[in-house]
């Protein structure tokens, strides 16, 4: 399964690569994005970014750091508003705008293409645009306009559309509509920054984490030690593992390794500093409020403590199905009922800060010893040590891994006992060793056109298993097919649809797919009585007919085995 990174499709090389073409403003930011979008090599991306950091204005740099570390500006206007204003501006009927949108598949780009270019003379021969305000001007204006009357927003947006070039307008729209994504990792951005500011990447990664406001923080402040010290909430960058690539014996002596279960909850850091408690998720969201159970830690933990762990649905010494936690994730207000029905616990993995001191450089065995001492002293049933799985040889560990699903674990983690707590995703010292997904063969029964970019193709399918001579739909699954396969299935749907219900078509049950999923739980919201976790199409079984698919009984058996 290829991991799909959200990408702000920015392929275009119609501009020269010389740094001299960087003229500042929105244009140079747009140019950076296009270069990142076109280069396939990490080194080229690194060069593009460090070139940008070397020349861009200070305030823009802060915003680029913010944007590339997931701090997107909030949506200032709705897509519908933008569409309406665009059609008004250029005098096109809305149906024609929609035709265009369906062909382009992206609202920001549709508008960027529809607004006429100012004139050819605004493109200098270098292909760089000398017009347009700097990036920070636009993003900060969005923030200021958030509560402004609609007429004021509209005026600003229409003016900006007319003064920007098509490419800059596209980026402007992406930022404006809250749909800005960038297919570059934070790590790469940090490495590029390190080339220009004489700081270690790890130091930068730490300094740019946590709570800061791009509009009021200067570039120098952001990267100085001072801010880190005054911001007590600041988490450390998470250390993430790659999937195990080699055979176990390649890892060397089993005794050098600590094995733990791999849990699938919310990876987080619990921070107690300056008498305050902060809970951060791996996505760098402050989620303290969502877990009132942990508030007791404000008194119990000593100041200057940072624990890395997994927040899991947990009750009476048992990790529950992740589905349980889903009922309270995303809720604005957590009620007593949620706390009772979806109790959580923290499985502590690691200790990053002790008595106000960063101990990430210590060996895992030392950090683990300190962690054990701390957690045991707390004597709180919902704060547990992530249990260490003891094993003497790799064969034994392989057998143990088979048990993972029985305890709602995803597999094993292997950590070198001598390893420091590193920054970001690294190879070598930590590995995840997940169990294979569950799979089931099913037949496609409904198809729906995809959203946005896929709006011309049938790409969203519903699948069914057999129950006697009936077919019971049990899951949707999206990704996992190649573009070519999507086109083939799309053609099949168009030829073989039986009925139409709004956007949904019922399809002749003929195509068989293997659906992979990570977990299964009982559900009364689904006709089949089961809900799958992370269902996706793993392959198209062109070798199978609907006769060969799995049955509802097969699903129920899986539920009994793994659905606790």
């Amino acid at each position: 399964m290829p991991e799909r990174t959200p990408n702000i499709s920015l392929e275009d090389t119609n501009t020269p690569l010389e740094a001299g073409a960087m003229v500042g403003g929105m244009a140079s930011f747009a140019q950076l994005l296009f270069r990142l979008g076109t280069s396939t090599k990490t080194n080229e991306k690194l060069e593009a970014l460090s070139g940008y950091f070397a020349h861009a204005n200070e305030k823009d740099k802060v915003w680029v750091i913010a944007l590339f570390s997931g701090r997107r500006p909030r949506r200032a206007v709705s897509g519908t508003q933008l569409a309406v204003w665009c059609t008004e501006l250029i005098g096109l009927p809305m149906w024609l705008f929609q035709e265009c949108y369906h062909t382009v598949g992206d609202l920001s780009e549709t508008i960027a293409l529809l607004i006429p270019e100012k004139s050819a003379s605004t493109h200098s021969t270098e292909g760089a645009h000398t017009i347009g305000q700097p990036l920070h001007y636009y993003v900060e204006k969005f923030q200021q306009l958030e509560k402004a009357p609609e007429a004021e927003k509209k005026l600003f947006i229409l003016q900006s559309w007319l003064e920007l070039s098509s490419r800059d307008r596209f980026v402007f729209n992406k930022l404006l509509s809250g749909t800005f994504r960038v297919g570059v990792s934070q790590k790469l951005m940090v490495n590029a920054l390190a080339r220009t500011v004489q700081l270690e990447p790890n130091t930068i990664a730490h300094r740019i984490s946590g709570n800061w406001d791009p509009a009021s923080t200067t570039f120098t402040e952001l990267l100085s030690e001072q801010l880190t010290q005054t911001d007590h909430s600041k988490p450390y960058p998470f250390y993430l593992a790659y999937a195990l690539e080699d055979a176990l014996p390649e890892l060397g002596e089993p005794a050098d390794w600590q094995a733990e279960w791999k849990w699938d909850g919310i990876r987080g850091q619990i921070i107690k500093r300056n008498d305050q408690l902060f809970v951060w998720s791996r996505g760098e969201d402050l989620i303290t409020e969502k877990f009132p159970e942990f508030s007791i830690l404000q008194n119990k933990l000593p100041n200057g403590t940072v624990i890395d762990g997994e927040i899991l649905p947990y009750h009476d010494g048992q990790v529950l199905n992740f589905n349980v936690l889903q009922t309270r994730i995303g809720r604005k207000n957590i009620t007593k009922k949620h706390l009772q029905e979806a109790p959580v616990g923290l499985f502590a993995y690691d200790l990053l800060e002790l008595n106000g001191e960063d101990i990430r450089h210590l060996a895992l065995r030392e950090r683990r010893a300190a962690l054990e001492e701390l957690v045991l002293s707390l004597q709180l049933p919902f704060i547990q040590l992530s249990p260490v799985v003891s094993f003497t040889d790799w064969d034994e560990l392989t057998t143990i891994r088979e048990q993972s699903r029985n305890i709602n674990s995803e597999g094993l983690m292997l950590k070198r006992r001598s390893s420091a707590y590193q920054v970001g995703r690294r190879r070598g010292d930590w590995w995840k060793w997940k169990i294979d997904p569950l799979t089931i063969d099913a037949v496609m029964v409904y198809a729906q056109k995809g959203a946005g970019r896929r709006s011309n193709l049938y790409t969203d399918y519903t699948f069914a298993v057999k129950d006697g001579d009936k077919l019971v739909p049990f899951t949707k699954a999206y990704s996992g097919l190649t573009d070519k396969e999507f086109a083939q299935v799309d053609a099949f749907v168009k030829r073989n649809s039986l009925e139409k219900f709004g956007p949904v078509r019922t399809v002749k049950p003929e195509l068989v797919f293997e659906i992979a999923f990570e977990g299964i739980a009982a559900s009364n919201r689904h006709k089949s009585g089961v809900a799958l976790r992370f269902p996706r199409i793993s392959r198209w079984r062109t070798d199978k007919t609907p006769e060969d698919i799995n049955t509802l009984d097969d699903l129920k058996k899986m539920l009994q085995l793994y659905g606790k």
């Binding site: 990408n7 392929e11 369906h102 598949g105 529809l114 053609a491």
Partner: protein, 358 residues
């Protein structure tokens, strides 16, 4: 009986007993241009422009051909037929048909910008105009040719600096000839795929003065391509043939490259929205300039374009034709939208729904 009717063999003029760009064998075919979806084999006799003749001979072999000049009036059973420049590719023509004072014009494929080799499109006053609509949506408005050539040249220069081979994908008839002069300004040797080389030789023999190109052959050491430009047709894109070029950077020249998603789907390193078809404004202006009372819209975005024409007060209707099939003889791949294709490539996967249609 209308002067030109839409039959299952193609556009038919009964009064004159001839077809225009028929897709099935007929007795008499008037051909707008030499692209394979407009010039098909099997007919008894062909009428075309002088410049189209050698290209038709290359494509269809020996046959009964009657070449004519632009504006030359030919009479067929009291119907007067003349060809007029369409600006699409070398020799491309619109067909004017007049009978008892009634004038119809069939556009064939056309573009309104003068490209330097394809003749200059001129709107022909008529009562009824049959227009293509390959790029009949307002998102398709082209940058001027000079600007696009500069972008292509910049791209090549950057590839040269990076020690890469620039592989440009464009149709062997049309795009390839149009690009040559601009390419010659930035590269020592222009290498070309055999399909392009064939067309090139034919045109040279017909007396065209074109910059020299070198055919890609197995004997040429791979390293000689580095830093130079290779021209290839869309059918070669992604084929084994392409693998011989060291550190290739691929650029596609096609109107579909206007939309990023289509560019990404083609998996190219660069895309240039250089088209041999009229853009939205070009189509609109041409339709208006003919002064036609009735407009028929063929291959492309015919339903959107004709609906829009009706809304602005022009009597229009869409017509289904079999133009716009893949040329170059490559197997049709639903994911490879091509310049001459009658539907755009599907939008790319990924992304999110940010705009629920109203």
């Amino acid at each position: 009986m209308p002067l030109i009717s839409f039959t299952d063999k193609g556009l038919y003029c009964e009064a004159g007993q001839f077809y225009i760009d028929p897709w099935q064998p007929v007795d008499k075919a008037v051909i707008t241009h030499a692209h394979s979806d407009h010039a098909r084999a099997g007919s008894q006799a062909y009428l075309c422009h002088h410049d189209t003749l050698p290209l038709l001979q290359l494509r269809l072999g020996p046959n009964h051909y009657q070449p004519v000049a632009w504006n030359e009036k030919i009479t067929m059973n009291e119907v007067t037929v003349s060809l007029h420049p369409a600006g699409h590719i070398i020799g491309s023509s619109q067909v004017r048909v007049e009978y008892k004072g009634e004038v119809w014009v069939v556009s064939g494929d056309y573009k309104t910008e003068a490209d330097g080799i394809s003749g200059i499109f001129e709107p022909i006053p008529c009562h009824t105009f049959i227009s293509e609509s390959t790029f009949g949506l307002p998102i398709y408005n082209w940058k001027p040719q000079d600007e696009l050539f500069q972008e292509i040249q910049n791209w090549i220069r950057n590839n040269q600096v990076a020690g890469k081979t620039s592989v440009l994908i464009g149709y062997s008839l049309g795009k390839a000839q149009r690009l040559l002069k601009a390419l010659g300004e930035v590269t020592g040797t222009i290498y070309a795929h055999g399909a392009i080389w064939n067309v090139h030789e034919t045109l040279l023999q017909a007396g065209w003065k074109l910059p020299a190109i070198q055919r890609v052959t197995p004997e040429i050491p791979k390293e000689s391509y580095r830093g130079h430009v290779v021209l290839a047709p869309p059918s070669a894109d992604g084929s084994l043939w392409m693998r011989r070029f060291p550190s290739a950077s691929t650029g596609i020249c096609s109107g579909w490259m206007q939309v990023r998603g289509h560019q990404r789907r083609r998996n190219a390193d660069a895309g240039f929205a250089l088209s041999d078809h009229a853009d939205w404004n070009g189509l609109l202006q041409s339709v208006k300039a003919t002064g036609a009372q009735k407009v028929y819209i063929t291959h492309g975005f015919q339903s959107a374009f004709s609906r829009y024409l009706i809304e602005i007060g022009i009597s229009a209707a869409e017509v289904k034709t079999e133009f716009g099939e893949e040329e170059e003889g490559a197997p049709a791949d639903p994911l490879k939208g091509d310049e001459e294709g009658n539907s755009p490539p599907p939008p790319p996967a990924g992304g999110e729904d940010e705009f629920a249609p109203l």
